[in-house]
């Protein structure tokens, strides 16, 4: 079974050849993944090199903690990956983007107004979270539409703050 595995923008093609074997590109490895606590903790041996990993599953995404570094890993079977990649190539960039709160917090300031034209990188909303002010910037050029928040509003992570058309 062949998989397309994406970690931080890099895609590995990994074939699971047997219970104990994988092929990454043209290299084969002997592997052994064992659950330690029947929850998140695993022991992984790759060609007898020992790794302790924590793996948390969320849909098709896996969060893997390895020696201090937390990776978000997308696993797709290779066939589906090819199809979705073609679809992505064909799709044009969206004409409207929702600017969402990257974290929960309180709105401190909204330096833009409805209908205002902004450029990539302009500050749209200032959010306070964990005592620090964080600036939410425009991901691209556009006009501010459906501005939904104002100062001292509490927002949840992922909540739409405004639209850019």
């Amino acid at each position: 079974m062949k998989y397309a595995v994406t970690v931080r923008g890099q895609t590995f093609t990994i074939e699971v050849t047997s219970q104990e074997g994988v092929r990454v590109g043209d290299r084969t490895h002997e592997v052994d993944l064992r659950s330690i606590d029947a929850a998140l903790l695993y022991s992984l041996l790759i060609d007898n090199r020992s790794y302790e990993v924590l793996i948390e599953e969320e849909g098709a995404e896996y969060r893997v903690l390895l020696r201090g570094e937390l990776y978000t890993v997308q696993v797709e079977d290779d066939f589906r990956h090819q199809i979705s990649r073609q679809r992505r190539v064909r799709a044009s960039p969206p004409s409207r983007v929702a600017v969402k709160a990257p974290m929960p917090g309180v709105v401190v300031a909204v330096p833009v107004v409805e209908g205002q034209d902004v450029c990539t990188g302009d500050v749209l909303v200032v959010l306070e979270s964990m005592k620090m002010e964080n600036e939410v910037r425009a991901p691209r050029d556009g006009r501010v539409n459906r501005l939904r928040v104002g100062p001292s509003d509490t927002v949840e992570k992922g909540q739409t703050l405004l639209m850019l058309w």
């Binding site: 595995v5 970690v7 020696r67 201090g68 990776y71 890993v73 974290m103 401190v108 300031a109 964990m130």
Partner: protein, 499 residues
């Protein structure tokens, strides 16, 4: 001696203080907001009292409620920790008025040191070198005028400040007004006081601070220096003691100066005198921190002095346990602040439930933690979730130990800045001790990844699990078919019955 101590704080520092109280056989009282009912400090204390909604302004900063809890619980002393009310003269005075011991300096000292611009004036007049800047309350227009006199680059600071709130570095005059506006707003929100002062930025300077202990009989000693030059957004990230930049001779000189500053401020209890050490080896007074500091453990590790227990001893009116001559420094200590933020996406704060936690242990490792597995990190407070402290015989040994400990640290559920620490600890300039307060901002950048092999290992781990899950789905579907009827059969029967 004190009998019952209320800790007016939360998180790791509340736990640190509660532990010291427990070791001394003191009863403990915790306070908590709506967001912290399940927090570690509440579980750890003997008694816990609710003081209000989640925002700090309505709970941990409510002097009236905390004093009221002290009365209700019969606490005879209050430890403020750091942050929140720790350096507020008004709070120390309220404790005094209520007949409760405030574990910290007197309200007068707090008022004097708390107005940082005024403190600069007093310290300068006593002959201690200070950095060029402003010493009085000024309007924005006057600050802009003063800025032209002081020169660039410069820094705005909150007179009521601490923790980097209200601090902005300004490199161009046209940015000044905007910076002052943002700094005032931040200071106003953090301290309820938007007064600012300016200070020239000393390029290439190191942040050196001296730990002070002072009892009520006028005895003052110092416990040597800490270095906190590794800062991001004016917040220290890694601290160490001693400092590579301090020779025994300079330690003696700066230590004496720190004691002198403490004397001028009529300081009592534990405090810190902060200096900048410039490239030429000249030191300049920065400010007095009238509180237990976040990074106090590194001093404890190399001196063996338990600073929190000394605080409790001093507050109960007893003599200092040590004389200056008793203080010996042994080995090297490092502290990494573990913050709930994602270093790979611009240090965005990260909140959520800690789904898995394993803290490092082993020789020379100390973890000051405010979290546990299952704890939910809320957006209301500081992102500091724990401090990882190590000791080694030499700086090199401490560095290697810290790397090992960071690798052992396992937190799932929220992102942490552990990878950031790992990269700093792998930086040759940091290893060589070539650091200053601009190190992180100007000469270090978080690399996307240092180890491509690690990515591949992560990919293999995920794929093996996904593969296993896929197989299990298949097996489970089959198993279910064996036990129950298929939907087709069920539908046929339903139709037969309802015909």
């Amino acid at each position: 001696m004190l009998k019952k101590v209320l800790v007016a704080n939360r998180g790791e520092i509340a736990v640190r203080v509660l532990r010291a109280c427990r070791e001394l056989g003191l009863e403990t009282v915790a306070v908590y907001s709506d967001a912290d009912r399940n927090a570690l400090h509440v579980c750890y204390a003997d008694e816990a009292y609710h003081i209000g909604p989640a925002p700090a302004r309505e709970s941990y900063l409510r002097i009236d409620r905390i004093i009221e809890v002290a009365g209700r619980s019969g606490a005879d002393a209050i430890h403020p920790g750091y942050g929140f009310l720790a350096e507020q003269a008004e709070f120390a005075q309220a404790c005094c008025d209520a007949g409760v011991v405030f574990i910290g300096p007197s309200p007068e000292t707090l008022a004097m040191a708390g107005d940082k611009a005024a403190a600069r004036r007093i310290i300068r007049d006593a002959g201690v070198p200070i950095i060029e800047g402003t010493d009085e309350e000024l309007s924005d227009a006057d600050l802009v005028a003063a800025a032209h006199r002081i020169g660039l680059p410069l820094k705005s600071k909150a007179t009521a400040g601490g923790g980097g709130k209200g601090m902005r570095t300004v490199d161009a005059y046209e940015d000044l007004s905007a910076a002052l506006l943002a700094a005032r707003r931040e200071a106003e929100a953090a301290f309820g006081d938007g007064t600012l002062y300016l200070e020239r930025v000393v390029e290439g300077a190191r942040h050196i601070e001296f730990q002070i202990l002072a009892d009520h009989r006028g005895e003052i000693i110092h416990l040597g220096e800490r270095e906190g030059s590794i800062q991001r957004r004016h917040q220290k990230v890694i601290e160490e003691a001693p400092s590579r930049a301090i020779t025994p001779k300079l330690r003696l000189k700066m230590g004496d100066m720190a004691v002198r500053v403490a004397k001028i401020a009529q300081y009592t209890n534990a405090g810190t005198v902060e200096f900048l050490l410039d490239k030429e080896g000249n030191f300049h007074f920065l400010e007095i921190n009238c509180r237990l500091q976040v990074e106090h453990p590194v001093t404890e590790m190399i001196t063996g002095v338990d600073i929190v227990k000394e605080q409790l001893r001093i507050a109960s009116g007893r003599r200092l346990h040590y004389r200056q001559g008793d203080i010996q420094w042994r080995g090297w200590a490092l502290e990494c602040r573990i913050l709930a933020e994602d270093p790979h996406s611009n240090f965005m704060p990260s909140t959520g439930r800690i789904s898995w936690l394993h803290e490092p242990t082993g020789p020379g490792v100390r973890v000051e933690s405010g979290i546990y597995e299952g704890f939910v990190i809320s957006p209301y407070y500081d992102s500091l979730i724990a401090k990882l402290v190590v000791w080694g015989e030499t700086r090199g040994a401490a560095l290697l130990r810290m790397r090992r400990a960071l690798e052992e640290y396992r937190v799932m559920g929220v992102s942490t800045n552990i990878p950031f620490h790992q990269q700093i600890l792998n930086d040759t300039r940091f290893i060589g001790g070539q650091i200053d307060t601009n190190f992180l901002e100007s000469r270090f950048s978080m690399a996307e990844d240092t180890d491509w092999g690690k990515r591949e290992v992560a990919a293999i781990a995920a794929v093996l699990l996904a593969h296993r899950r896929g197989q299990r789905t298949v097996t489970m579907t089959r198993a279910q078919d064996g036990y129950s009827q298929s939907n087709w059969k069920r539908l046929a029967r339903w139709e037969a019955v309802n015909r």
